[in-house]
């Protein structure tokens, strides 16, 4: 059986990654908007984002919109792949390969 990715296999980070996976490939979302979508505190979200960034799953870039600094968050290619693999593993756990059940 496949091991579940420990970085994603935590409720808070799974929610972060699932949310980011709903963005189109190549898109990033502003930190406050992500925070609002997830209803997390800024500190809590930062902690989880750092863990995801350390694993190479999330890309964080700092930029300026006019004069105000903005932090943008997006799923990296590696992160999207890891999320897809995790989702597949979960599906496999719930619905084991039918071939095994055949006599």
């Amino acid at each position: 059986m496949t091991e579940l990715d420990p970085v994603i296999h935590a409720q808070a980070r799974l929610r972060v990654v699932a949310s980011l996976s709903a963005l189109n490939v190549g898109d990033k979302i502003a930190f406050p908007r992500l925070q609002e979508l997830l209803a997390m505190t800024a500190g809590n979200l930062s902690v989880h984002l750092r863990k995801l960034e350390d694993a190479g799953y999330v890309e964080i870039s700092k930029t300026h919109r006019g004069r105000t600094p903005a932090t943008l968050v997006g799923l990296s290619r590696r992160g999207r792949l890891a999320f897809e693999e995790y989702t597949e593993a979960i599906h496999a756990l719930l619905d084991p390969a039918p071939s095994k059940e055949q006599p």
């Binding site: 296999h9 409720q11 799974l14 699932a18 189109n24 502003a30 979960i90």
Partner: protein, 229 residues
Amino acid sequence: MTGSPDSTLFRKVVCVDLDDDSPPTDAAAALRLIQDQRSATARRLDPDARLLYWPWGVAWLVGFGLFFLRFPPGDQALAHLPGWLPLTVLFVLLAAAGATQAVVSVRAYGQVTGDSARRGQWYGYAWALGSVSVYAGLGRISEHLPHDLAALLWSATAVGLTGALHMAGGAVWLDQDLFRLGVWISVINLIGAIAGPGWHPLVVAVAGGGGMLVAGALARRRQRQRQQP
């Protein structure tokens, strides 16, 4: 979005213990969490398709409808309206539709940047520059035409450009509703142009405006299916 039956579901999702670093209780819980979170995010980032389609449909239905009633084929107006009214109403409604679209889009995508934003921006430039370049040429010709032919030239060109840009938008986002609407608009524009001056606004009002209302309803239905957890 608040007040919809989905909002209770969303609230349930966000009330998960947020400081919890522990794994989901089991695989079923993990899958539910993924699906709920993805659909909640999609609902928040995807504006209601009706708000993007219907204001334009109403503008065409009412604006071109009034134009037909005031300037039908033949010399006799079907409704005794001041001559300036139909175009004024049309442009006011079109401006209102554009403003609605801008507000709805900024609310939904305003905090998202990247490839999608760039596509939207370039698509917007295509509308703006395309319109200006086409109408500049028309303006120089139409002053030499009789009123009914000038009206046909303006509306058939504007509707044709709209149809082509809708098809292009469908290609950019691989959005079949948008693409089909572009095909429909182009076809009815052709039919209206063949029918001739006077009839063109009737075709555009009923088939074009009506088509946009139908397209909005279809796009909304598809959107709801996509956002099901």
